[in-house]
């Protein structure tokens, strides 16, 4: 499979169909990114906007970069920010919704539902910059280097934000475990 950079380069040199081929590779991922943050309906509306901006900006793409995902996520992020500027909350949609059982297995669901609420609560409580880094890594499966490209910040910044976010989450879960443990002891 040809790298994204090659396809984008070809689109710059008179083969726009190559650009569409590139978008096909990432359309589900970019839609997922938008849907997690703005909801499914908004994602349906915003996806085309991401493609239009990417196409308009293709001349600035460094075709040496094989994977266009960080670039596309960066564009999608800008589209989302404008969407949020119109009055919507910038908190990820999936953290706002009452997701009762995102788990398939019943056992896992019973055990995890409460812990998931604790995680959601902890993630919501994170500073926006840390939350964004954490979710790009956890949800979009980006590396810290790729995340840095999406956000336009240094890799070190991403790593430190990620570290702080993870420490906070661990602490929240530990505290919760401690409370649960104390509750069980008192019942005995």
């Amino acid at each position: 499979m040809e790298p994204d950079g090659v396809l984008i380069g070809r689109s710059v040199h008179g083969r726009p169909d190559a650009f569409v081929d590139m978008t096909r590779r990432h359309e589900v991922a970019i839609h997922g990114y938008l849907a997690r943050r703005a909801g499914r309906q908004a994602a349906d509306d915003l996806l085309a906007e991401v493609w239009l901006r990417a196409y308009a900006g293709r001349f600035g793409y460094d075709t040496e970069r094989a994977d266009a995902r960080p670039w596309l996520y960066g564009i999608a992020r800008n589209v989302l920010r404008e969407h949020w500027r119109n009055g919507s909350s910038d908190e990820p949609a999936v953290l706002q919704e009452e997701r009762v059982d995102p788990w398939d297995g019943v056992d896992a669901r019973l055990d995890s539902a409460e812990r998931a609420k604790a995680v959601i609560s902890a993630v919501r409580g994170l500073p926006a910059a840390e939350r964004e880094v954490l979710l790009l890594v956890a949800w979009e499966q980006l590396t810290p280097a790729e995340t840095a490209r999406v956000l336009g910040v240094a890799q070190g910044t991403v790593r430190s934000r990620l570290h702080r976010a993870r420490v906070t989450l661990r602490r929240v879960l530990s505290e919760r475990d401690a409370i649960d443990g104390a509750g069980v002891s008192n019942e005995r």
């Binding site: 096909r24 839609h31 996806l47 493609w51 995890s112 993870r166």
Partner: protein
């Protein structure tokens, strides 16, 4: 619980929380068609209203029109869905008016640009209307 297992569990929980449904194929196709429409106007060097514009690599003067196209198609899609669910009407039936490129009779924005063949047909139609025709 060790740090590693807590980290793993947190990652698993986050992944589960972040699960979303796959988009409908139609949504992806619509977005692609809007992109093809932008590509077409870029290649032809025209704006959707038929005016000549500078080719600047995608931002060829028609972005706002493409956005309007997105919104219009979404409205049409939900209207068509309602119509079909009520048991009536093919949106492609006779009598349904589509916008046309000024003075040429060519549908604009293009209704289907899924392949370069379609693109060529529209380009040829446009050039015929502008250069070969009366």
């Amino acid at each position: 619980m060790s740090d590693e297992s807590a980290e793993f569990e947190t990652g698993e929980l986050l992944s589960a929380i972040g699960k979303v449904q796959m988009p409908e194929p139609r949504v992806l196709e619509d977005a692609r068609e809007v992109l093809w429409s932008a590509i077409a106007s870029d290649m032809l060097g025209i704006g959707p209203a038929g005016e000549q514009v500078t080719v600047t690599g995608g931002s060829a003067g028609g972005d706002e029109d493409h956005r309007r196209t997105v919104r219009r198609r979404q409205t049409e899609r939900s209207r068509d869905d309602r119509r079909m669910s009520m048991g009536g009407g093919d949106p492609g039936q006779l009598g349904v008016k589509y916008p046309v490129l000024a003075g040429s009779g060519i549908p604009w924005p293009p209704l289907s640009f899924r392949d370069t063949g379609g693109l060529c047909c529209h380009a040829f139609g446009f050039l015929s209307a502008r250069c070969i025709g009366p």
